[in-house]
Amino acid sequence: MQPLKPVSPGARLVLGAGFFAVFLGAWAFVTYGGHVPALFLASPGRTLSSGWSLLTEYGFLGDIAVTVFRVVGGFLIAAVMAVPLGLLMGAFKPVEAFFEPFFSFCRYLPASAFIPLLILWAGVGEAQKLSVIVIGSVFQLVIMVAVVAGATRPDLVEAAATLGSRPVSILRRVVIPAAAPQIAETLRLVLGWAWTYVIVAELIGASSGIGHMIMDSQRLLDTGQMIFGIVVIGVIGLVTDFAVKSLNRWLFPWAAL
């Protein structure tokens, strides 16, 4: 192995799949080998069969749909608020000076700590679930988008100015396109965090969703179902991540992402 030397796509695939295999092997070893009581950790086979019954008998697909809806909904609301504001903050320093300290403060407020308050304000319905995700994502997004927009190359801004662009036009024709690929990457990252918040929101005061199912399974000591629920989240995360990455590559062919 040479430092920084790239690996071929084939080898990358084999290595990536390899660790999944190692992990599964270790899991199988401790469960089938009887090294861990079945009560605490279900075996891979048990997990799969629990998952099958969840899907076929308990309408788990509905739970998945509800959770996906909450994540996407909350995340979109956060993005619609955060991206324009972040762009303005990045481009215009007085706007940044006005909002940045407050948002930096908000960024450290844990979204989960708002859950009891939000239940008081919004009940236990969808509004509360969406609010948790919005609170968890919006401040992070604003700050990150502002940083990305603020990192626009000043020489490009100057070139645009010497070609006759006024400030608003510079924002529209230089700052936004220059920042777009990085903003898309930021959105991809924060979408992953939104999944954490939705599960936390569903652990408390929910009657549907993946988090709710996990909570229910705990009461029944069904570790197979719990693990299956967690794995489903991981798989959805992996698939969206891959999809968003390809989308970004297609949207921004000029950037070597």
Partner: protein, 262 residues
């Protein structure tokens, strides 16, 4: 052909010191008049304030004192009447070559057909035919600067400000770019203010060379270049060229030494 006179009067630039550091005087009071259609080269050691002067003319930097006016109208900020090509590659990476060249025309709201016609003309003049739909990252450094030049020219500025535009290119590419620029200038006679630290480049292109002193910069000498246009690359081997070069070299060596010690 340009018909506006650029007048720089007593322009000074002081950069405020950081913390307790004393402010830095980058540019001593400088006055200069550039007649329409002139090609003026500003030659100086690095850090002498020649780029600062150019940026002030472009409106990208404000003078601490003094004023710049184009045909009597004071310069207060950047504008399309003063096109600029930078040393760094400043094509917009998200626009193709053709869209980069159309940038200023789009800003002015010209009809698209007209934009395309103008862009096509400058694509031809800068030898970029066949690369209209390439992204900037697919172009060599020389091609990127040709495109940047085309983008500035397409906007039809009164004056062209060139800030060491070939500084990042290899020697051979650089010489080709000089010939291209000269060819365009000889045809259009647009006023050019060209900043460089390359003596050959200054003598080959300009009809007047201003030598700047080491920081804090001031214009310490003015040398007219009486070599007739149109010039070919062969002019570089003539005794007249050699004599001018020797004279400028003597002027600038002293400043480079000062800058190196400072």
């Amino acid at each position: 052909m340009s018909n506006k006179t650029l007048r720089i009067e007593g322009v000074t630039r002081t950069f405020p010191g950081r913390g307790r550091a004393a402010p830095t005087l980058a540019l001593q009071p400088t006055s200069l008049e550039v007649a329409p259609g002139e090609f003026v080269a500003i030659l100086g050691p690095s850090g002498c304030g020649k780029s600062t002067l150019l940026r002030i003319v472009a409106g990208l930097d404000q003078p601490s004192a003094g004023s710049v006016a184009l045909d009597g109208a004071p310069v207060t900020g950047p504008g399309p009447d003063r096109g600029m090509v930078f040393q760094s590659y400043t094509l917009f990476p998200w626009l193709t070559v053709e869209r980069n060249i159309r940038y200023g025309l789009e800003e002015r709201g010209l009809p698209e057909a007209e934009q395309r016609a103008i862009a096509a003309r400058f694509i031809d003049r800068t030898g970029l035919r066949g690369f209209e739909n390439h992204w900037p990252r697919q172009l060599s450094g020389g091609m990127q600067q040709r495109c940047a030049l085309a983008r500035a020219l397409a906007n039809d500025p009164e004056i062209l400000l060139l800030d060491e535009p070939f500084g990042a290119l290899d020697h051979q590419t650089r010489e080709l770019m000089q010939e291209l620029l000269l060819e365009i200038w000889q045809a259009d006679r647009k006023t050019v203010l060209f900043v460089t630290h390359d003596i050959d480049e200054a003598v080959f292109l300009a009809n007047r060379v201003l030598v700047m002193s080491a920081r804090p910069g001031r214009i310490k000498a003015e040398v007219a270049v009486p070599l007739p246009y149109p010039r070919e690359w062969t002019v570089k081997t003539t005794p007249e060229f050699g004599a001018l070069k020797a004279r400028l070299m003597a002027e600038i060596r002293e400043e480079v030494r000062k800058a190196a010690i400072a």
